[in-house]
């Protein structure tokens, strides 16, 4: 059994230690907001927070999260930064197909926490690992600026 804290709740899951966190979240715990994109840490769709870092859950073994705190898109709006991002995302109407968006938001939250007023360059540095096949990049950028300005 592996003990995990996900979105503030404790879970004991019966999984092989090498199982990617993504599958424990989706299949064992039932949190399906986190998406499977490429399965090799290339696209960012599976981004969740592990102790505040934007890890890629599709390749991170669940053993790494033993006793640690995971936060997923389902709990993002529980803090101030997450709330502002959610609002800004709706106001800018960012998603198109939406598949990459939970990863985009989880990455944006880490960026805003480290850099409350990011420049375009900061956004490039922090967000270039999250790929969007609909090409919503310009709206992602706008929404991050909007969320930063909301304080």
């Amino acid at each position: 059994m592996i003990n995990l804290k996900v979105n503030g709740k404790d879970y004991n899951v019966d999984a092989d230690p090498s199982t990617p966190i993504l599958w424990v979240l989706r299949d064992e715990i039932g949190l399906t907001g986190t998406k499977f994109g490429c399965g090799m840490a290339q696209c960012g769709a599976c981004t969740v927070h592990l102790n505040g870092d934007a890890i890629r859950s599709c390749i991170t073994p669940v053993a790494r999260a033993e006793g640690q705190e995971i936060k997923t898109i389902e709990a993002l709006s529980e803090d101030a930064i997450g709330k502002r991002l959610q609002k800004a995302w709706i106001e800018e109407d960012v998603p198109q197909c939406g598949y990459c968006q939970s990863g985009q938001l989880m990455a944006a939250a880490v960026l805003l926490k480290a850099k409350p007023n990011p420049t375009d360059n900061d956004i490039d540095l922090g967000m270039s690992g999250n790929i969007c096949r609909c090409g919503t990049y310009q709206r992602v950028r706008k929404a991050i600026h909007r969320a930063a300005a909301m304080k």
């Binding site: 990455a107 850099k115 690992g129």
Partner: protein, 228 residues
């Protein structure tokens, strides 16, 4: 007739004086030559001077020094093949993004070094690179301390000639390490060793780690000579 004899006697005297003075000067100068030799062996000037004092012994010493220097430089040139292999050089890029693959292209996601060499914001190395390699073709390789050199000590390999790289590696101002510490990094750092456990789909450096470390050690022990 008498005049000519006097003149030639005078010339003979002159020659004797010159020879005596030369002998005196050489005798006084000799110790200086010796002491200089200890401080800086084997430059062309010293080699020429020492010939006058003791041609046989000094020629031998210079020859030994020269062989040692040659071996040091040759050892570096061997180690250089490993240093410039993508498994080593890809994390010692000239820019601020790490490189990937045997063609050393810019790392996908346009990852950035950051101050500590461990990435920035949502793009930290350890967000993808785990403690160990992930099984499967071209999956992210791992190490508990995956990182680039930090921003204040970039340790660039990319684009360096053997001479430039050797000079850089022996300059503590550019490495933050003494040569002994550098040798320890090469021999023991598990991130260096990760180059020989690259994960599926990646080539290994041309020498084994043991061979590479031995060449690097030889380079240092024989004087860390900068190859020409």
């Amino acid at each position: 007739m008498k005049n000519t004899t006097v003149k030639s006697l005078f010339s003979l005297k002159k020659i004797i004086y010159v020879v005596l003075i030369l002998g005196f000067v050489t005798a006084v100068a000799a110790p200086f030559n010796n002491s200089r030799k200890i401080i800086q062996p084997a430059t062309e000037t010293i080699a020429a001077n020492t010939k006058i004092i003791d041609p046989v012994v000094d020629k031998e010493k210079t020859q030994a020094d020269k062989i040692r220097e040659k071996e040091s430089a040759e050892a570096f040139n061997e180690a250089y093949k490993v240093l410039m292999h993508p498994r080593c050089m890809n994390c010692h890029p000239s820019g601020d993004a790490p490189l990937q693959g045997d063609d050393s292209h810019i790392h996908t996601q346009n990852v950035t070094r950051g101050k500590d060499g461990k990435g920035v914001y949502a793009m930290k190395c350890s967000n993808c690179h785990q403690k160990e390699n992930i099984a499967g073709l071209n999956m992210p390789p791992g190490d508990p301390n995956w990182h680039l050199p930090p921003a204040n000590m970039k340790m660039v390999f990319q684009g360096r000639t053997p001479a430039q790289l050797a000079a850089q590696l022996k300059d503590p101002k550019q490495t933050g390490k003494t040569l002994q510490q550098m040798l320890k990094h090469v021999e023991e750092d598990h991130l260096v060793l990760a180059g020989w456990n690259p994960g599926e789909g990646r080539t290994k450096p041309p020498l084994s780690h043991a061979e590479f470390a031995a060449k690097f050690r030889e380079w240092i022990e024989k004087g860390a000579v900068v190859p020409k």
